[in-house]
């Protein structure tokens, strides 16, 4: 390597967070507190749920009233996630640091994103969110609108989102009412991206678990799920540590890198992340049975 490995973690951290933010777009549809404050697993973060406020006329009580009865907090307990890779020093010498960045970035970003999404998806159960509809093997535009109606009735807050498995997303992509719509159809067909349907963002989560309840997707408001993140406090002798943050969301990532006694370079991407149930009525499950 041309320079000391001391510079590599900073570059890796920025590279991983840039990739990670593109893999977790659904998180911006949840109530969140993302930070780069150092902590450890088990730390609890109080996440304010995005609510629907009602303005009132100023009166004798002045400002000492609370108009937003739905503004509550959900306590999110952070877990410590990490993905580590080991690199042969001969490979680094042969291919340079660019090899390290190109090889580690997508692997780490995919692994971390998958773990974070799994935390969210694990919450979507009958016990946590009782509202649900059997939408069968595929999902149609009409069923999306019906789910939107459920959220409307529950006064789920904006922004709305549908998180769906690939089968359901493909069902919508083939729905004549979507691809046949003038103006919208051409873009959907060419890009394969549904964007917004019925005022809600549509996200595909390829590894959405069924949770043993035939779960195939869910529709939610921003107050349904609370997520939080932080960074671990890391001090390992001989290892370099660097952090990076997504300036848009505040989501952070930490890179730890050092050379083991075996000679291998150990590179780790890590963060603290957690998810919790917010307002239970602001999410409706979509199931295949």
């Amino acid at each position: 390597m041309a320079n000391s490995i001391a510079t590599a973690p900073s570059v890796l951290a920025e590279s991983v967070i840039a990739s990670l933010k593109g893999k977790l777009p659904a998180l911006k549809n949840f109530s969140s507190v993302f930070s780069t404050l150092e902590g450890q697993a088990g730390k609890t973060v109080a996440v304010p749920l995005i609510g629907v406020s009602t303005a009132t006329e100023f009166g004798s009580s002045g400002y000492l009233t609370q108009d937003d009865a739905t503004l509550t907090v959900a306590n999110v307990t952070l877990k410590h996630f990490k993905v580590s890779s080991r690199f042969n020093p001969l490979d680094l010498k042969s291919f340079g640091a660019e090899y390290l960045v190109r090889a580690f970035t997508p692997t780490a970003a995919n692994a971390i994103a998958e773990k974070c999404l799994a935390e969210v998806a694990a919450l979507v159960t009958v016990a946590n969110y009782s509202s649900g509809t059997n939408t069968g093997a595929g999902l149609t535009y009409a069923e999306v609108i019906a789910a939107k109606g459920v959220l409307d009735a529950a006064k789920a807050s904006d922004v709305r989102a549908f998180v769906l498995n690939p089968t359901y997303v493909n069902g919508l992509l083939a729905d004549s009412q979507i691809v046949g719509a003038a103006g919208l159809g051409a873009q959907v067909i060419s890009s394969g991206q549904l964007g917004q349907v019925g005022g809600a963002n549509i996200y595909q989560y390829s590894n959405l678990p069924t949770n043993s309840e035939s779960l195939a997707g869910f529709a939610c408001g921003a107050d349904a799920i609370a997520v939080a993140s932080g960074l671990p406090m890391t001090e390992i002798p001989g290892f370099e540590v660097a952090n990076a943050v997504d300036p848009d969301s505040g989501l952070g990532i930490q890179i730890i890198m050092g050379q083991e006694q075996s000679g291998f370079y150990n590179v780790t991407a890590t963060l603290l992340f957690g998810a919790a149930v917010g307002r239970a009525t602001s999410l409706t499950r979509l199931t295949t049975a």
Binding site: N3, T7, V11, E14, L100, V245, P247
Partner: protein, 138 residues
């Protein structure tokens, strides 16, 4: 060869030598005339150059006077600038030629600049813009 024949030959040689002498004399006289003309021409040219030299000398004096006048004006402008600077409470600083010289821009070390930025939007933006240069710099 008989005495008569020798006399005839001597007379013939004398006649040839006489003719050759006359030719040389004519040539010398022509050369003298040509040299005299060239000398006169050289004198005339010399006179012209002397005149031109005198003219240039006059022009030189004029230019020197102009330079002196311009330098005097420059000094006056500097003094005026110093007066203006002093009137607004600023101490005038002499401008040296090195102050205005343009040095060639040094190549940017994107990795070092990236590392010098604090974590956040500016750093992320810089990384997005120069990702390849930064990675190659490790």
């Amino acid at each position: 060869m008989t005495i008569e024949e020798q006399l005839i030959k001597a007379a013939s040689d004398l006649s040839a030598l006489t003719a050759e002498r006359d030719e040389l004399r004519t040539a010398i006289e022509a050369s003298a005339v040509k040299e005299a003309k060239d000398f006169e021409s050289t004198l005339a040219k010399n006179a012209e150059l002397n005149t031109a030299l005198e003219t240039l000398g006059v022009e030189k004096q004029g230019l020197l006077a102009k330079i002196a006048e311009l330098q005097a004006n420059t000094v006056t402008a500097s003094v005026e600038a110093a007066k203006i600077a002093a009137s607004v409470g600023v101490s005038p600083v002499e401008l040296s030629p090195s102050d205005v010289s343009v040095e060639a821009a040094a190549p940017v070390n994107h990795l070092q600049h990236f590392l010098s930025l604090p974590m956040g939007a500016e750093r992320s933006s810089y990384f997005a813009k120069y990702k390849n240069e930064i990675v190659r710099g490790i």
